[in-house]
Each structure stands twice: as structure tokens, then as C-alpha cells.
Symmetry: C2
Subunit: 275 residues, 2 copies
């Protein structure tokens, strides 16, 4: 998907919501557990209920992998379902991959060709040749971990060196890589105070922002600091939407929660003159 | 597997060789491609031929993932085969995972319980809570990316801050984490000159050293700087062994190459008084 098509969706839906699919068999409603493929069935119901309010879906690979071959089959069915029925949605494989050149190329091929997702989250520690293979596929994106929402972010990401913090160095260095216009960046909502300085370094890039809801980040603070002329934000909520209810009404509850976030997003988009 | 059992294997076989299973369907001998599961068949033949010279096997997840569900099935069969027939070998899932706490816990569970590997390679960028969930499983290990063998290693890993390089900070910080005695570290063979200083920070830890052979690192230099009293090294070779021949004699050729490395390792183990 082109970034223009993504922006068109954002304007059309007045939303920059990404729904995170962190599907945990222990948390899905019990009546679904009797199904042949409960992971896929749950995801399908969530997607059918929320697609009008969301512009992106983000399956979290760790959850699928933890169920072995069964999980991978479900992941394949979910991306297939999205591509068939909701192809205007942006699909992010939240895989946080990062490996040397020939291996990175394998990961890129798997996600972009086998599963046909639009973007993959990628770790920066191994540098340029671990990321560039993801930037050679037309209209596909690598979303680079920059400033993450978890407590461990303080261990290394804020390390001061050469007059800048490590996450700022990651941003600036990545701009020199081949295909850097296909880079997006992960910036945790719990670090909203850093968003303004990040926007100065990458004024035009899309930022994927996890951490609102369960992790405590504020949608308003993120929007104020992060929105640019082409929106430039994808704000993710996972648990706050998909497990809002763990009963038979889970899909209705998820839709209501997604709508609530969409309506709040519409206000910020309007305030910034984007819609 | 305990570290003592691993050291016993090293002494018994006079080897600290890890064979990397980077299985690429385009590189395996053509007569195997007609098999129902060519990935597993190739791996099985390589394992059967090299197990006397190797103490560890390292399936590279990117290669398996790039074949989708078929690849994951093959990975499951390979770890199952190793655990059934060669349970004295240390199995490393080279996955380079790194994600926030609840997600990291999922990955740890998948690799340690579903696939029953002994260790998983893990990326440090997200810090403590991305790694600690891997350190709560008895006799299982996280192998932390520290100084990698690829060119991109120079982008961030050598960043000077607070009087030390980032990879040194990763080492020192990780020692404060809960379960740090279950940490091992990835140090590329192409950075052997840094090994001596790394040994001072982690005198007792096992180091997984990729990068000899195809990537140009020297086994002698790595051994001189990296060996400690309990060996403390697992040196990996992938392509140099498994694709030594791409013809019908591939398993014999792989065994000969593994034996050559084992015999060189025996010399260094003897010189250091370890065997």
C-alpha cells in the first residue's frame, strides 16, 4: 500500500487507529474455544466489528508463534482474510526482526511475499544491513524500533553519546540508508514528551505508537506532539479493544471501544486541519 | 541442559563446534528436492553426519519462517529429532527476538516449551523486561546480541558513551538482570580483537561466535582471546559446513568439514589445558 492510500483511508475514516491482534487463547471468550480454529475465529469477529474505525491491524507474532504450527496457520488465514475482504487496511506484522543481510532478506521475503503484509517491525541494533533488505519491496515498509513503550527502554535507548540520545542517533542514521522513504518508526505513547523532538528529525515519517490504554499512554498528548500534515501517526491499541469484554458480546464491545478512540482521533485531526 | 553438561560434551568430543542450520531450498542438493519434506531430510542427513564433531546445532529461524507453515513444521521436526536422538546436543533457536515483557514471555514459552530448545538468541535494544522472561526457565538460556559479525554492527554497537562502547554497556547492564547466570552472548568472529575486553567483563559466560568461514573470521584468533577454563565458547559455522558440497556427497563433505574444525578446536583446547 502506498503512503498516499494510507492517508486517504485516514481522511475517509477520520481515524488513525491500529488494532493490535495479541491473541491469547486464555483470554478469548470461552464459547469460541470449541471452534476448530479459535484464534482465527476470534480475529475474524474482531476485524469484522472494528474495520470501519481502524485503518490498520497489527498481528503480534509472538502470540501466534507461541501456538506453534497451529498459530502460524491462523496468522496466514488472518492476513489472507484481511487481504481478501479489507484490502484497504494496512497490515503490520509486529515481529521485531533484526538479523544480518542474507537472513534479513529471508524475513522480508516471508512477510511481504508469503503473508503479504504491508509492514514489519524491525530492531535497529544490528544496523544498516539488517534493515535495508526490508526496504527493497515496492510499497512495503520497515517500522524501526526507536523509542519503545516498556520500562527497559531506559536501559539503552536514552544512552547519551555524541550530543544525542541513542534513539535520536537511530533516527538520524536510518535516514542515510537506501530506501529510507520506506521507513516508519515505533515510538511508545508512554514517551510522548520525546515526540516533539522526534518529529523534528523525521517530520514526514509515519510513527507507529503503541502504549495507549493498558500501558498508560495518552492519546491526546501523542496527537498534539505527533500529528503532521499527512497525519503521520498510527496509534495502536490491543488489549484495550480486543479484550474489552471477554464474554459473548466481545465483538460489540471491541467495536464500541474502537469507535470511541476513532471519535477522539477525529477531533484531533479536525483541530490540526487535516480533515 | 546445564552448563556443566555442555562442558562435559565439549571435553568428551574435544569440540566447541556449533553447526548452523541455515537451510535454503535453493542450495540443497537437487536429489533431495523430490522428497516430501526436503528441509527436514536435509537437516537430518547433516545432523546424522556431523553429530560426533558438534556439541550444538543452531537452526536459523528466518530460513524456516520464509517457507511459512511448511518451514515451521520442518523446524518442529528437527528440534524433535535432535531431542529424541541427540539429546546431549545443545539446541539454539537463532531467532533474535526482543519484545516487551508479556510478549517476550510468549516467545520464551514457544521456544522452550513448544520446541524444547536450550537457548534463544535475543536482541538487547528494548532492555531488561525484554530479556528477563527468557531467564526464568530452568537450565534454559538467552543469548544476547552483543557485538555482531555484520558490517552494520558499526552503526550503533560501537557508540561511545559514559566511557564505554554500547556493546560493553549491554554486557555490564545485563549482569544486573535477574537470572543473569543464564545469559550467554553473541560476539562475531570478525570482531576477535574485542574479545579480550569482553572476556574481562564476562569472564565465565559462554559466548556464541558466528562469522568464521563465509564471513571471514579466524577460529585461531577467536580461540586465543575467547577460551576460558570451562571453554566458554561455542563457535558456529553454517554455510561452510552444510553447503561444502551441493551434490549427493553433501553429508560426507559436511562431516569432513566439521571434523576439520573439531580437530583444530582440539588443539586449542589442549593448548589452554582444558582437555
Amino acid at each position: 500500500m502506498t503512503q498516499e492510500a494510507l492517508f486517504d483511508q485516514i481522511k475517509f475514516k477520520k481515524s488513525f487507529l491500529c488494532v493490535g491482534l495479541d491473541i491469547d487463547l486464555e483470554k478469548i471468550p470461552s464459547h469460541l474455544k470449541k471452534q476448530e480454529d479459535p484464534i482465527f475465529t476470534f480475529a475474524k469477529e474482531i476485524i469484522d466489528a472494528t474495520h470501519s474505525y481502524a485503518v490498520a491491524y497489527k498481528p503480534n507474532l509472538a502470540f501466534f508463534e507461541s501456538y506453534g504450527v497451529q498459530g502460524w496457520k491462523a496468522f496466514e488465514k488472518i492476513t489472507g482474510y484481511l487481504n481478501e475482504h479489507y484490502s484497504d487496511h494496512f497490515i503490520i506484522a509486529d515481529a521485531k526482526r533484526g538479523d544480518i543481510g542474507n537472513t534479513a532478506a529471508r524475513y522480508a521475503k516471508a512477510f511481504f511475499e508469503t503473508y503479504e503484509v504491508d509492514a514489519v517491525t524491525v530492531a535497529p541494533y544490528m544496523g544498516q544491513d539488517a534493515v535495508e533488505p526490508f526496504l527493497t519491496f515496492k510499497d512495503k515498509y520497515a517500522i524501526l524500533l526507536t523509542l519503545t513503550s516498556n520500562p527497559g527502554a531506559f536501559d539503552f535507548q536514552f544512552t547519551e553519546a555524541e550530543g544525542q540520545k541513542l534513539y535520536e542517533k537511530v533516527l538520524r542514521t536510518s535516514l542515510e540508508w537506501k530506501g529510507s522513504d520506506q521507513l516508519m518508526y515505533v515510538v511508545g505513547a508512554t514517551k510522548a514528551e520525546a515526540l516533539a523532538s522526534i518529529r523534528k528529525i523525521v517530520p514526514n515519517a509515519f510513527l507507529l505508537v503503541p502504549g495507549i490504554g493498558a500501558q498508560g499512554g495518552s492519546l491526546e498528548a501523542v496527537s498534539q506532539a505527533g500529528l503532521n500534515k499527512q497525519c503521520g501517526l498510527l496509534v495502536n491499541s490491543s488489549r484495550g479493544i480486543i479484550y474489552k469484554s471477554q464474554d459473548k458480546d466481545f465483538a460489540i464491545a471491541a467495536a464500541a471501544e474502537a469507535q470511541k478512540l476513532q471519535e477522539e482521533m477525529a477531533v484531533y485531526l479536525d483541530q490540526k486541519g487535516i480533515i
